[in-house]
């Protein structure tokens, strides 16, 4: 330690009155210190922090030429500044001073004097060994950004914001809720003065809104905080409000909204609509929409039909609006209401509770209602007509949808149809008993009236080829010719007489060409075509019809409802059997040789592949066989000089996003691309094609399409909630799906009349009410329709805002203990047991009962019990006192006395009326004749044993002042449940790197002398986030925080410890490890020197690089390795 020999250390041991001297032998420590290396002088003194104490140091430095000083006393938090100043007055650099704490963790905690003294010695030695290695440093001065961030818009946040802003400094006030005001906004009166909370709060809220120096960020949360005092960078997430500032708060939207959810501002005692304003004086006074992720029914629908939307409207009996909404996205609403395979229903959240909603049937009801009530909306007209000629080939669902969409976009497309009637598979494939012709024709007619021309008997490839269309001046072509060719089974005897193909059979029937069917008909296949064919065959006079399917019912692709209907009508279905040969007699079919199947491994379609069972062949007698195994497109029309690419499944090859074929201007979709698919999928293609063509004709890039496609939804299970207010699925009351009534069976077998009769208004509404409103707002667009200033936009997105501030005040408030936790007090079990906040809303004139204090049954209570310390002063919940309960409980008592004749009982353990005017308020309550009973309530039970008889409540307790066990009957109970930290206090703590005390509230720097600052410079706390508080205290703390903040702002700059890192150029190997590790990007690699360098202005002295540097080249001022090692060595008595 040669180098240390020539330094002179002065050591000063403080008695701190008895605090240290009582347990630490200061004289022994002093003696010990004086014998240490480099120590020139060691003294003890009663109070080193006193002026004479400091004088001692100054004198020694001057006279003895000390160049290092150690003071062993209290925590540096207390007096480091004091002693550093003393050193500087004696011209000694403050960083040559070291403080050693022999009080908090030494004299205070030790019981045996010897131990304490030993520890003190070690601490002093450590300090000495460290200080001799310390070097003089110059403090770093940084500018203070005058802007301030305040988190939390409760009374504390508001108060501080106004005080800071009034001095002309910028304030960002971030509030998580939709309005500022916090808990105070919920209160009616405030103790002890009983002035109305709103009257004193709302003026402040308004001036926040109007203040030009306050930027209010409501519905916002802090995402990230970087930097340090004077210069913080904060990311704020502004949640979408879906209503812009244009909102005039007229409230029309509320009338239009069909959704109701619990109103959290009213403590969920009443409901509110999905679009709402928290309360009339809310600031900002803009409405907002309560949304979660979109409903699955809508997400999974290939055309993005707003299902949840019209269901909600139906539930409210607003059928016309529902119809309007359906028509907005759906070109063929009647058709879909009857034959859609409704993927929406298989995703419906309700299925977790009982059964999915009958969405298809509801839609059908709405459209039928529209028809019956002649409410048909007038044909939509596009604002500007476009002249480009567009050809659509095929008038099936895809072609029609495409025509419809194009018409909406202002075009007048022409549809070419091969057959004599329009409709494609809708008319040729689907039997009339499922989709009546007049309905279908009405749909087609509607589309025609929109300006779509349909030319029938025009077959592509026969009557014309693609080239002709171009030469006739068509600019774009959409091919949607479907998949009409039935696949053969490739078994012997397929060509015998009496063997028909399902699609051809249905087509002929549907075109009114009666088909001869025998008495015993077999249908091969398991799809809708097979089932349709079977049911049609029955209607054509077949005596018995058997469906032969090679897999089981589970794999059968046909719609369940259809299969059931078929079985009702007497169709027999044989599973796990496949024909291997058609048996014939003189050229006519006389039977089918079948083989049994069993299920093997899953195939490409995911269904288990059927495999023949050896020797299970058997013959079945039939006189007609309908083959309906599968279809494929007919692509023989592809003649001319435009060869379109065809896949190996003989479907057209297109870009799935844009539906372009390999030929410019030619698009294709529907079954001709997808192979035999569904009506709704075909329609989705049609709409998409229309948009693509529109873009193509306007020479826009074929990208960012707005027409929806079916989305694959994430797997959901019972744990999933429709939305955050929804009850657990097992708590949802079971309501079975409403069934449609049907025409009689014999009628069904004779005629082609529509089988299902649809729902009645009552049935439809009942069914619609089963909807769980996934995502709360169902985007029915009604609010948009009624909003005069056009302020509503459902497509709004959350945004991230980055702000720069110098200091931060946290006023994030409190939560209250969930009273359900205390089963003894019957909250949630009995009516008329309320929490304090619920009761605040009950007594509030704007609250759920307009301030009338009544029981659930509307009667006035005869007696009310108010229970103090619910979860407070109780080790099982919160050991601390919540501090405000006694007083607001007394306030409640007063209000009850004021408004009712009820007896009031206050059950308290100790009455804490500590504030100004509080004790007087207490005595006033006593004068008013409130019964105060000293004793913690043991339990609240129902008087009378059985739940059946609506009994009053019994409060059991000891009246400790008369030493009696008492049971007091009351009608209503109010629980003063404990104040506790916000559930996410932990996240905020981490975000702002501050600490919390064991009770979970934010920890102040010093409990008495610095209650608003935190251990992190530049971050302050105020209000209940620091601990339970009443309004006066919160406001006082807020003001003091504001003063603290303003002090730095007016100072303009601030000194910070010069503890930056520096990199020793000699040792740095240039590995750059530190460059990326540095959280403040303060380290850059200098190419020319080949080493890393620290930018001192940016470095915050976090030490990350020091720890990481493999060459120990990175060191941190005042925390250099040798200093720390020396300190440790000293501690270990080295």
């Amino acid at each position: 330690m040669s180098r240390d020999k020539n330094v002179k250390v002065g050591v000063y041991i403080c008695h701190c009155g008895f605090n240290i001297a009582q347990t630490v032998d200061v004289y022994e420590v002093t003696g010990f210190a004086s014998r240490l290396d480099c120590v020139a002088v060691a003294r003890e003194y009663k109070f080193m922090c006193s002026d004479p104490g400091q004088e001692l140091i100054i004198k020694d430095i001057k006279e003895m030429g000390l160049d290092r000083v150690v003071v062993a006393s209290c925590s540096p938090l207390m007096h480091e500044k004091t002693f550093r100043k003393a050193c500087e007055t004696a011209k000694l650099n403050r960083f040559l001073f070291q403080m050693s704490n022999i009080r908090e963790q030494c004299s205070w905690v030790h019981q045996k004097k010897e131990e304490a003294t030993e520890k003190a010695k070690a601490l002093v030695k450590a300090a000495v060994m460290r200080v001799v290695r310390q070097a003089p440093l110059d403090p770093v001065v940084v500018k203070v950004n005058p802007a301030t961030l305040i988190v939390g818009g409760g009374i504390a946040g508001i108060q501080a914001a106004l005080e800071i802003a009034d001095s002309g400094n910028k304030v960002y006030l971030v509030e998580r809720d939709s309005t500022i005001g916090g808990k105070m906004a919920k209160f009616d009166k405030t103790f002890p003065t009983l002035d109305c909370a709103a009257c004193i709060l709302t003026p402040k809220m308004v001036s926040v809104a109007q203040h030009e120096d306050i930027e209010l960020l409501s519905l916002s949360e802090i995402e990230d905080v970087q930097g340090f005092i004077g210069d913080f960078t904060v990311k704020v997430k502004k949640k979408a409000r879906y209503v812009s500032e244009k909102c005039t708060a007229c409230g029309e939207c509320v009338k239009a909204c069909p959704i109701l959810v619990p109103n959290s501002f009213e403590e969920n005692q009443v409901a509110r609509s999905a679009i709402y304003r928290t309360f009339p004086q809310a600031v900002p006074n803009t409405y907002l929409i309560d949304k979660e992720e979109r409903p699955p029914c809508r997400e999974t629908c290939p055309i993005g039909q707003e299902a949840a939307g019209y269901i909600a409207l139906v539930a409210k009996g607003r059928f016309a609006e529902a119809a309007r909404l359906i028509r907005r996205d759906n070109p063929l609403p009647f058709v879909c209401g009857r034959v859609c395979y409704h993927p929406c229903e298989s995703e419906c959240s309700r299925r977790f509770a009982d059964e999915p909603l009958a969405i298809k049937n509801i839609k059908r009801f709405v459209m039928d209602w529209e028809l019956k009530n002649k409410a048909l909306v007038e044909v939509p007209k596009a604002e500007k007509k476009k002249k480009e000629k567009i050809a659509i080939i095929g008038s099936g669902p895809s072609g029609l949808a495409c025509g419809h969409e194009l018409a909406l976009r202002g075009y007048s497309p022409v549809i070419f149809e091969k057959h004599e009637v329009a409709g494609g598979m809708l008319i040729l494939g689907i039997p009339e008993y499922r989709l009546p012709r007049e309905i279908l024709n009405m749909e087609i007619d509607f589309i025609k009236r929109m300006g779509v021309t349909i030319k029938t008997n025009m077959a592509l490839g026969k009557d014309f080829v693609i080239d002709d269309l171009f030469s006739q001046g068509f600019k774009a072509i959409y091919i949607a010719t479907g998949a009409h060719k039935s696949l053969k089974m490739a078994i012997p005897g397929e060509n015998l007489e009496g063997v028909l193909h399902g699609v051809d059979f249905l087509r002929d029937i549907n075109l009114g060409r009666p088909q001869p069917v025998g008495k015993r008909v077999a249908v091969v296949g398991g799809g809708n075509t097979a089932v349709d064919a079977a049911r049609t065959a029955l209607r054509c006079g077949a005596r018995e019809v058997t469906v032969l399917y090679r897999r089981t019912r589970k794999e059968m692709p046909a719609e369940e409802a259809e299969i059931l209907a078929a079985e009702e009508e007497g169709v027999a279905i044989q599973y796990l059997v496949a024909p291997v040969e058609v048996l014939g007699k003189e050229g006519k079919i006389c039977g089918v040789r079948c083989i049994r199947m069993e299920l093997g491994e899953p195939d490409s379609s995911g269904r288990r592949r059927p495999v023949p069972v050896e020797g299970s062949q058997h013959d079945l007698a039939f006189d007609t066989l309908l083959i309906a195994v599968s279809q494929e497109p007919v692509v023989d029309f592809l003649t001319g000089k435009f060869p379109l690419n065809v896949t190996k499944w003989s479907t057209l090859e297109v870009n799935p996003e844009t539906l372009e074929t390999n030929i410019r201007g030619v698009f294709a979709g529907g079954d001709v691309v997808l192979g035999p698919a569904t009506v709704i999928a075909a329609m989705s293609d049609g709409k998409r094609a229309a948009e693509a063509i529109d873009k193509y004709l306007n020479n826009e890039p074929l990208a960012d399409f707005t027409t929806p496609r079916a989305k694959k939804l994430a797997k959901r299970d019972e744990s999933f909630r429709p939305h955050r207010y929804a009850p657990a699925f097992k708590e949802t009351p079971r309501v079975p799906r409403t069934k449609m009534s049907e025409i009689s069976l014999e009628k069904r077998l004779k005629t082609f009349e529509e089988v299902e009769l649809g729902l009645t208004e009552e049935e439809a509404m009942k069914e619609a009410e089963r909807c769980l409103n996934c995502g709360i707002c169902v985007e029915c667009q009604e609010c948009v329709r009624v909003c005069e200033p056009k302020a509503i936009d459902h497509r709004m997105k959350d945004e991230i805002k980055e702000i720069k501030v110098g200091q931060i005040l946290l006023a994030t408030g409190y939560a209250t203990l969930n009273s359900k936790a205390l089963s003894l007090y019957g909250y949630g079990q009995f009516d008329n047991v309320y929490t304090s906040l619920e009761f605040e809303r009950i007594v509030s004139s704007t609250g759920s009962t307009q301030g009338r204090i009544v029981l659930k049954n509307g009667q006035e209570p005869r007696a009310i019990g108010i229970i103090h310390c619910v979860g407070s002063r109780d080790e099982k919940y919160h050991p601390y006192c919540s501090r405000v309960c006694c007083m607001y409980a007394l306030k409640f008592a007063h209000l009850i006395k004021d408004r009712t004749d009820a007896e009031v009982y206050e059950f308290y353990i100790d009455m804490r009326a500590f504030g100004k005017g509080y004790e007087e308020f207490y005595s006033r309550i006593l004068e008013e004749g409130v019964n105060v009973i000293r004793g913690k309530v043991a339990e609240v039970v129902q008087s009378g044993w059985s739940k059946k008889e609506e009994g009053t409540l019994l409060i059991r307790c000891e009246d400790t002042l008369i030493k009696k066990y008492r049971e007091i009957p009351v009608d209503m109970v109010v629980l003063c449940n404990a104040i506790e930290p916000q559930p996410d206090a932990g996240d905020i703590q981490r975000l702002f790197s501050i600490s919390r005390s064991p009770d979970g509230f934010f920890l102040e720097k010093h409990p008495k002398l610095d209650p608003t600052a935190t251990a992190t410079d530049g971050i302050y706390i105020a209000g209940c986030c620091q601990g339970p508080k009443d309004i006066p205290d919160s406001v006082a703390q807020a003001s003091s925080a504001a003063a603290r903040i303003l002090a730095y702002i007016s100072k303009g700059e601030i000194e910070i410890e010069p503890i930056q890192a520096y990199i020793d150029p000699e040792l740095c190997s240039g590995c750059r490890l530190c460059n990326d590790l540095c959280p403040y990007t303060a380290i850059k690699f200098s190419e020319d020197e080949g080493i890393s360098k620290v930018n001192e202005a940016l470095c915050k002295g976090c030490g990350t690089c020091v720890a990481a540097c493999p060459a120990a080249a990175s060191q941190q001022n005042h925390f250099r390795d040798e200093q720390i090692f020396a300190e440790i060595e000293g501690l270990l008595g080295g």
Partner: protein, 289 residues
């Protein structure tokens, strides 16, 4: 998997039916009960209240025996169950008492090292075997039977080892799964008075009246209990109570294992129903007489 069975004194006489039914249930669930060899009285609450070390030694001897045989002890009697648990707790937290106890146990060449867990059959059935497993074995649904599940004090208090001390639900869930209907029964953990029936009868009678009355009020067909003392108090004094308080109570009091056995297809005899003073009626037996 097998358990060490500690019947306790009452199950040898006044609560034989509890013993019989418990053994039957465990056997038919394929859970072996091996009776603790030469077990002695647990000490019971009153004894706890005379001499501390001695009382501890008493229950500790059983635990020591169990430790030697290895495994958890299943004690149907609530009192035994609590005592054993409590002994464990005290010896765990107070090494001096533990030393004293082991010093005494030496005389029989025994010693105890806190390795044994004391369990209540309800705990074992609900948490080890599992309600679903039991329900799947049930042959006679309890459909339409109104049950008042009465837990008494000592299986949930003071520690509440396997259920909530204020509102236990293990039995409720069990019988619900078996098709039974649990009536509203706010007194499910209210005390029956225990030995007060002998020492301060007037007090105990009132307590029992409250419980019985509550069950009757809520039209229960039977009260189901887990404790020999509760059972005999509720069962034996109904006449007296009816007379004293001028009310009419006549309601069978079953051990939960008795009802369980019945629903699992036991004969009334196998369920030990012969011993109930208030006979289990037709509604409970479901035509099995």
């Amino acid at each position: 998997m097998s358990y060490l069975y500690y019947p306790g004194c009452s199950l040898e006489s006044s609560a034989k039916s509890y013993d019989v039914s418990t053994r039957w249930v465990f056997q038919s669930l394929g859970k072996e009960l091996v009776e603790l060899e030469d077990w002695n009285c647990c000490g019971a609450t009153m004894y706890m209240s005379t001499k501390e070390t001695i009382s501890l030694v008493f229950s500790a001897r059983n635990l020591a025996l169990a430790e030697r045989m290895g495994g958890d002890v299943v004690a149907p009697c609530s009192s035994c169950y609590t005592i054993l648990n409590k002994t464990n707790k005290i010896l765990k937290e107070n090494f001096i008492l533990k030393a004293k106890v082991n010093q005494s146990l030496k005389r029989e060449g025994l010693s105890y090292h806190l390795k044994v867990k004391a369990r209540h059959p309800l705990d074992v059935l609900v948490n080890d075997v599992g309600i679903d497993a039991i329900a799947s074995r049930a042959t006679h649904s309890l459909e339409g039977l109104n049950i008042a599940p009465y837990y008494g004090c000592q299986i949930v208090r003071p520690e509440g080892v396997f259920d909530d001390p204020e509102n236990p639900t293990a039995m409720d869930k069990l019988f619900e799964a078996l098709g039974g209907n649990n009536v509203y029964f706010p007194v499910k953990v209210r005390c029956c008075g225990g030995m007060l029936m002998t020492t301060f009868p007037e007090v105990a009678l009132k307590l029992n009246k409250e419980i019985l009355e509550c069950a009757v009020e809520n039209s229960a067909d039977c009260i189901v209990t887990t404790c020999p003392l509760c059972q005999i108090n509720l069962d034996a004094y109904q006449k007296k109570i009816s007379k004293k308080f001028k009310i009419k109570v006549h309601i069978p009091i079953l051990f939960f294992t008795q009802l369980l056995a019945l629903s699992m297809g036991s004969t009334p005899k196998e369920a030990g129903l012969g011993q109930n003073l208030v006979p289990a009626g037709e509604k409970i037996l479901g035509g099995r007489l």
